[in-house]
């Protein structure tokens, strides 16, 4: 005759216990990520103004966006251009800063904090400050350029300049984050490799080109993927500083989704735009993954 354990924990299958520990995260992910994403995907096939019931329209929203919507293509182009301007500059400056703050110098911790400060500042607060800096008539940037007989430039209201101006601000805001990631990467490279290279007579530049840069490749890959995701979804600075203008020159896909959903009450089209954006980011990430894997092999 077997005796049943009275301890409820003993009655549990041992393999189920780990799942209990991760249950809160699973529930959170299912209810706050997967279900909303699924509903959003369904909504992208409907006409839905959020005030009345959705109406099934099949792929009409996707067809409308991809065929005869100039604003969608302009937004896609702006988004790609914005990412291409922000990412390389961000990588170059953050790597340079990481190398600088990786030196064993007095007061380096202070500079690490200073470079990281913009990251923890609200994007709206930062945008307000940069709007002052960029002000055409009384802005700091035009005042400084004026000392050298340059300008004034209409940084945010000239369609040829506005996107670049936003990109400069975004680089300034984001370098601190990538600097910290590069710094971790740099500190993970064993010192003896550099010592061996020095004994072999490699110059500092050669050491950077042949050792540091290749060994930081996984970090750079991570930064590129995360940077692409982040810049493709840019919204806050555009909402605060340019509202997509002038002449739609700063309307990105993220801002277009907001306009469609909350200005025009077209949640179906907004969802379709969001899924196209997802597709673009997904395809770019896969392509990058394949490229980096091939390089590493």
């Amino acid at each position: 005759m077997s005796v049943r354990s009275t301890d409820p924990y003993r009655r549990l299958n041992p393999t189920a216990i780990p799942y209990l520990f991760i249950l809160p995260v699973i529930l959170f992910t299912v209810f706050f990520k997967f279900i909303p994403i699924g509903v959003s995907l369904l909504l992208s096939f409907t006409e839905y103004d959020m005030l009345s019931s959705p109406r099934w329209v099949g792929i009409a929203n996707y067809a409308y966006l991809l065929s005869d919507n100039d604003l969608f293509w302009t937004s896609l182009k702006n988004t790609a251009q914005y990412s291409l301007e922000v990412l390389p500059a961000n990588i170059a400056i953050s790597l340079l800063l990481a190398i600088l703050v990786n030196q064993e110098l007095k007061g380096v911790a202070f500079f690490r904090t200073v470079f990281y400060l913009p990251v923890v500042t609200s994007i709206i607060a930062v945008s307000m400050i940069w709007m002052w800096i960029y002000n055409y008539q009384v802005g700091l940037l035009n005042s400084i350029l004026g000392l050298f007989g340059l300008g004034p430039f209409d940084w945010l209201r000239n369609p040829k300049l506005a996107l670049h101006s936003l990109a400069i601000m975004r680089v300034w805001k984001g370098v601190g984050w990538n600097m910290v990631i590069y710094l971790a990467g740099l500190q993970g490279i064993p010192r003896y490799i550099y010592e061996a290279a020095t004994i072999d007579g490699a110059s500092a530049w050669t050491q950077f080109r042949r050792l540091t840069w290749p060994l930081l490749r996984p970090v750079t890959y991570y930064i590129i993927v995360m940077g692409l995701i982040s810049t493709f979804q840019s919204f806050g600075e555009i909402y605060a500083m340019t509202q997509g203008g002038p002449l739609d020159s700063t309307t990105t896909l993220g801002y277009l989704v907001y306009q469609q959903a909350f200005q025009y009450w077209e949640m179906g089209k907004a969802s379709a735009t969001a899924f196209i954006l997802f597709g673009v980011i997904f395809a770019l990430s896969i392509a990058q993954n394949k490229f980096v894997s091939a390089e590493m092999n």
Binding site: M50, L51, S52, W132, Q137, V138, P159, L247, Q263
Partner: protein, 413 residues
């Protein structure tokens, strides 16, 4: 026995204590303004007065910035958690009414003794013959100018422009250029966004044009009058009178206060800005008259309170609307906002009559024109604004811009 008696007493006590909580009705209100003076009068004066007079009703007021109002309302309605009462501009009426999300107020208004005092402003939120809005305050888009700049340019500050030719001529004299750059615009004009639509539409009405056909089935702004209006409007932005972009505020200072423009079209809010941030400049600010080309016209709009159809406390919510729009409450709100009173009897209030600029805004109401109440209005407004901007930047000719805008508008009407 003693234990049972103690439990029984505790339960009775709990029941007695929770009775008031069950008897109390809570009315949720979304107030679309986050300016400190407005929040203060609502929180510290208007709400306590109401709750004192109506102990069975509790008001829960949330202050929402204007820019976030539509997204928040949409998500609240979609989620079934809309406030009982919410504030919005009159242009929102048709969209919410067509979607059956707001309650017609005609039955309440019919029994309301104060209704007559609102006069025609009570029609500002009318859609398909039903009234949905009780106005709180109004604003407009009138010419505002600096008298010190007028004198400096040899113009008589008592004689502001009355038509387009006088406007262009004054703008020319008031503008100051340094090289190719305007350091002071003669007149500041909006070329993008809602401001561009409102200002250009005012010019269109002054030229005898209209936005739509009489039955609202077709765009009418692309006719000869519309093209002539846009030609004049964009012609002012030639770099000698005005830039092709609206002047930027300098921190909290409106461009007129900062001295970077001499004249601009603005609403009553700018007067409040001057009084708060540039009180020394306020004596040099004057409000002009509505311009007249073919007709005298000026854009006006009212913001007010709507009753949500989702509300389960409609009668209590209406009581709250009555209180928020009574004369005593309106006086406090309007003084804090710097808006126009919707009630006729308030037009002679001392705080209005003592300010010549507010009086000019009230006088201008004789020529008041409002944006149409149609469900597609926000889309139409943005289409128009986008094409006005294209014309202002020279990407399209005025004729092309209006033809393209009309084609887009006709597709959605």
């Amino acid at each position: 026995m003693l234990r049972a008696r103690t439990i029984c007493c505790t339960l009775v006590l709990l029941l007695v204590l929770t009775i008031p909580a069950f008897a109390e009705t809570t009315v949720r209100i979304w107030f679309a303004d986050t300016a400190e003076p407005v929040m203060r009068v609502v929180r510290e004066s208007i709400v306590p007065e109401f709750e004192k007079a109506n102990p069975d009703i509790k008001l829960k007021v949330e202050f929402i910035p204007w820019g976030e109002l539509s997204p928040k309302l949409l998500t609240a309605f979609a989620g079934g958690v809309a406030p009982d009462v919410f504030m919005h501009g009159q242009a929102a009426t048709a969209g919410f009414a067509a979607a059956s999300q707001i309650e017609p107020l005609d039955d309440y208004i019919a029994q309301w003794s104060a209704a007559n005092d609102f006069g025609p402003t009570l029609n500002s939120g009318e859609y398909m013959g039903k009234k949905y809005l009780v106005p709180l305050y109004g604003s407009a888009n009138l010419l505002i100018y600096r008298t010190d700049f007028y004198e400096e340019a040899g113009l008589d500050p008592k004689l502001p422009p009355t038509n387009w030719e006088e406007l262009a001529s004054a703008g020319q004299k008031l503008a100051i250029k340094k090289g190719d750059r305007l350091v002071r615009e003669g007149i500041d004009l909006a070329s993008s966004g809602t401001n561009a639509q409102q200002t250009w539409t005012t010019f269109l009405w002054q030229n005898g044009g209209s936005l739509f056909s009489d039955d609202y089935a077709k765009a009418a702004f692309n006719d000869a009058k519309g093209v002539e209006t846009l030609e004049f409007y964009t012609g002012l932005m030639d770099g000698n009178i005005a830039d092709h972009q609206q002047a930027e505020a300098v921190g909290s200072l409106p461009p007129l206060a900062a001295g970077t423009v001499a004249m601009q079209f603005a609403g009553t809010e700018i007067l409040g800005n001057f009084k708060t941030y540039a009180p020394d400049k306020y004596p040099f600010v004057k409000v002009g008259v509505p311009l007249e080309q073919q007709e005298k016209a000026a854009w006006y709009s009212f913001a007010g309170l709507f009753l949500s159809r989702q509300s389960t406390n409609k009668d209590a919510a209406w009581k709250a609307i009555e209180h928020l729009t009574c004369k005593a409450s309106l006086e406090q709100i309007i003084q804090a906002v710097g808006g126009l009173p919707p009630r006729v009897s308030m037009q002679n209030a001392s705080f209005i009559q003592e300010d010549g600029n507010l009086v000019m805004f009230l006088k201008g109401m004789e020529a008041a024109r409002f944006n149409p109440n149609i469900p597609q209005w926000t889309k139409v407004r943005d289409i128009l604004a986008r094409h006005i901007e294209r014309a202002a930047f020279g990407v399209s000719t005025p004729e092309e811009a209006l033809s393209e805008a009309a084609a887009e508008v006709n597709r959605i009407l």
